[in-house]
């Protein structure tokens, strides 16, 4: 496919880009849906925006645009039905239905206004009934927009028929008429325009210039909004939300900050996560399955669910969980199998752009939501997402989560399916390994204080301790990491003590932010190589288990170390460097210091 989805997503909010993309998209369209748009104002450019936004959701469109201002004639003409529409948008503006109301309503009698409303509404209903006789297509009707502030100002609502009331009545009349109609849906045009801003997008200038009421800049937004109808039409609605934990369900990292350090509360700090969880629970109640895919110690995560006083979501709200240190793409495939759903019906939510990129590149069928860096915007980002829309809402939908819960059972999976190295290659990882000098002492001490998960011995040191090690001639290195998303900073430390006849790895730690990228292998391999260069022969290394660091239990196993002692409180490993050869990963560039 010549057209990159990434590029389309990045530029799809610009109408001039959509017009270019639509030409390319038409060339590769497969199994298109037939969309008819009938309007009473200019909508040139909308079709291209719809095609572009649909492409992002793997939906292709054939679009029929009715003749300008002739929506009634189109409906009455048999030719229109030869197009075989799957969905028809009646995109009408009340101003076009009756140009007089806005500026004359204050001279008209209530009776006259009622007649106008009913006449206009009934005329529309007649045409819709005709449509329903002729086609099984879904019919989407836009409601009436309040164009301008009322001429009568604050007195408008004191009138028995103020303009706002006339429009509300008309809109409610439409709603009531189609309440139980499975074929007809209302597009709440007035409310949508309110959200995006009438002043900027329902724009008098273009109206008077080109009878174009809606600003062209708003077309991509309208197309995005209409995905609410096109996703269920194309059978692409999503069933499952897969969530990360740290900095997604709560603020902070449980493995580092501890239960008391997690930000999650009904008031004050962490409020945004509390509300985000409320939304997730609400989605779960309407039948969206929830699942977890998180890099964490299972016990840490379970502790939050069990003990945090403000958790809205309980562990039992999740139908499947992968809380481990495996590759998240592998976890994702396992979740799909466990829940017995397709990857294409899953939506992945993670604050970490690296994980999002991993899923996007290795499992393109999965929808990846781009969470903004500002956690206060999580709520609206998910509310704005259109993929959960449905034309039908059955009892079964409501029960779905429950049904899965009953069927829930664990399955074991093996084998790495994803080629992780080629993914990591795309991250442009760069590390530099620096000998600890005075300037780096504070950060080195801080790392020993704060790092819990990837920490082989968990010795805590003060700045003075670090200084003393340097003075005594031991070797200390820190690790500086960057990738294409930016700098991670100093995120690793290794302390090797000179015991004259051999060396001992006193401290080996990495911040959890950089895990899962094989950086630890590069870092430690480099250090062993350095020790070999200064003629070290033998290296000792300890693993001291804590409640947090089980993931590194066998870390030394992969570096030719032999376990020479195994006890409850420590494992001791030894390596003869004469047998060691450093094989650096090609996808991690080591910048020399």
């Amino acid at each position: 496919m010549g057209l990159s989805k990434k590029k389309v997503i990045a530029e799809s909010n610009r109408i001039s880009s959509c017009i270019q993309f639509a030409k390319e998209i038409d060339k590769i369209a497969k199994l298109p849906k037939n969309i008819a748009i009938l309007s009473n104002f200019t909508i040139q450019g909308l079709a291209e925006c719809l095609k572009t936004k649909s492409f992002i959701h793997d939906i292709f469109l054939n679009i029929y645009e009715g003749e300008y201002g002739q929506w009634q004639q189109e409906i009455l003409n048999n030719k229109f039905y030869q197009f075989k529409p799957d969905i028809i948008f009646l995109f009408l503006d009340l101003y076009g239905l009756d140009q007089d109301i806005s500026f004359h309503y204050n001279e008209m009698s209530a009776k006259k206004l009622k007649e106008i409303k009913e006449e206009k509404a009934n005329e529309l209903l007649q045409f819709i009934n005709h449509l329903k006789d002729k086609t099984k297509a879904k019919i989407i009707i836009s409601n009436a927009v309040k164009n301008w502030p009322p001429v009568m100002g604050i007195f408008d609502h004191k009138l028995s028929k103020g303009i706002n009331k006339i429009i509300d009545d008309y809109n409610n009349y439409l709603l009531e008429n189609f309440q139980d109609d499975k074929q007809v849906f209302i597009f709440n045009f007035n409310e949508w325009l309110g959200h995006i801003g009438k002043r900027n997008f329902w724009y008098d200038k273009y109206f008077f210039m080109a009878d174009m009421k809606l600003s062209p800049e708003a077309f991509p937004m309208l197309a995005e909004e209409w995905m609410s109808f096109l996703i269920p039409l194309a059978g692409k609605k999503k069933k499952c939300l897969v969530l990360d934990l740290d900095n997604t369900l709560w603020g902070g990292i449980i493995g580092e900050d501890g239960l008391a350090g997690i930000k999650l509360a009904p008031t004050g700090e962490g409020q945004q996560y509390y509300y985000f969880q409320k939304l997730l629970l609400s989605l779960s109640k309407r039948g969206i399955m929830l699942a977890i895919n998180s890099k964490n110690n299972k016990e840490d995560a379970k502790e939050v669910f069990a003990k945090h006083p403000h958790m809205i979501l309980k562990e039992s709200d999740f139908l499947a969980c992968r809380i481990n240190w495996d590759n998240k793409a592998k976890n994702m495939q396992e979740l799909a199998q466990e829940l017995n759903i397709g990857l294409e019906s899953m939506v992945f939510i993670d604050d970490d752009p690296v994980n999002r990129e991993l899923i996007r590149e290795t499992l393109p069928e999965v929808t990846v939501l781009d969470l903004p860096t500002d956690s206060t915007q999580y709520l609206r980002t998910l509310l704005d997402y259109k993929g959960f829309n449905t034309f039908e809402f059955t009892e079964e939908d409501k029960k779905r989560s429950k049904m899965y819960l009953q069927e829930k059972k664990r399955k074991e999976f093996q084998g790495e399916v994803i080629d992780i190295d080629s993914f990591l290659k795309g991250l442009n990882l760069r590390i530099s390994i620096k000998t600890v000098t005075d300037l780096l002492i504070p950060r080195s001490a801080q790392l020993t204080q704060k790092t819990n998960q990837f920490n082989l011995t968990t010795y805590r040191y003060q700045e003075e301790d670090i200084k003393k090690f340097i003075e005594e001639g031991h070797k200390l290195w820190v690790l500086d990491v960057a990738d294409k998303f930016g700098e991670y900073g100093i995120t690793g430390l290794c302390i090797a003590k000179d015991l004259e006849d051999k060396w001992e790895i006193d401290t080996m730690l990495l911040s959890c932010r950089i895990l899962g990228k094989k950086i630890e292998e590069q870092f430690f391999g480099f250090i062993l190589d350095e020790l070999k260069k200064i003629k070290a022969k033998s290296v000792l290394a300890c693993y001291k288990p804590t409640v947090k660091n089980s993931q590194v239990r066998d870390f030394y196993n992969s570096f030719n170390f032999k376990k020479i002692k195994s006890a409850d409180n420590e494992d001791v490993w030894q390596c003869e460097l004469v047998d060691f050869v450093f094989k650096p990963h090609e996808f991690i560039e080591i910048i020399d210091q």
Binding site: S16, S17, G45, M209, M212, S215
Partner: protein
């Protein structure tokens, strides 16, 4: 403006930026129709953060005129 003037015009009018000069107009450029005229206004307003009066927009007969309007509104731009 955030983008170069000719890049914006080239994209909307679907011609290469090398073909653009002050004399490009609706008469010699079939893609310069009323819809694309609105598109140019919208994109130029967005890129410059300025709103143009309709009278100034309607006075534009060619690319040279667009530059005059930008100058009138003290919009800094590159071609």
């Amino acid at each position: 403006m955030q983008e170069k003037l000719y890049d914006i015009l080239a994209k909307i009018l679907e011609i290469s930026r090398e073909e653009i000069n002050d004399n490009i107009s609706p008469e010699n450029t079939p893609t310069w129709d009323s819809f694309n005229a609105v598109m140019m206004v919208a994109e130029l307003e967005k890129s410059s953060g300025t709103k143009f009066d309709m009278a100034d927009v309607m006075a534009v007969k060619n690319v040279g005129d667009i530059k005059k309007v930008l100058d009138k509104y003290k919009v800094k731009y590159e071609c």
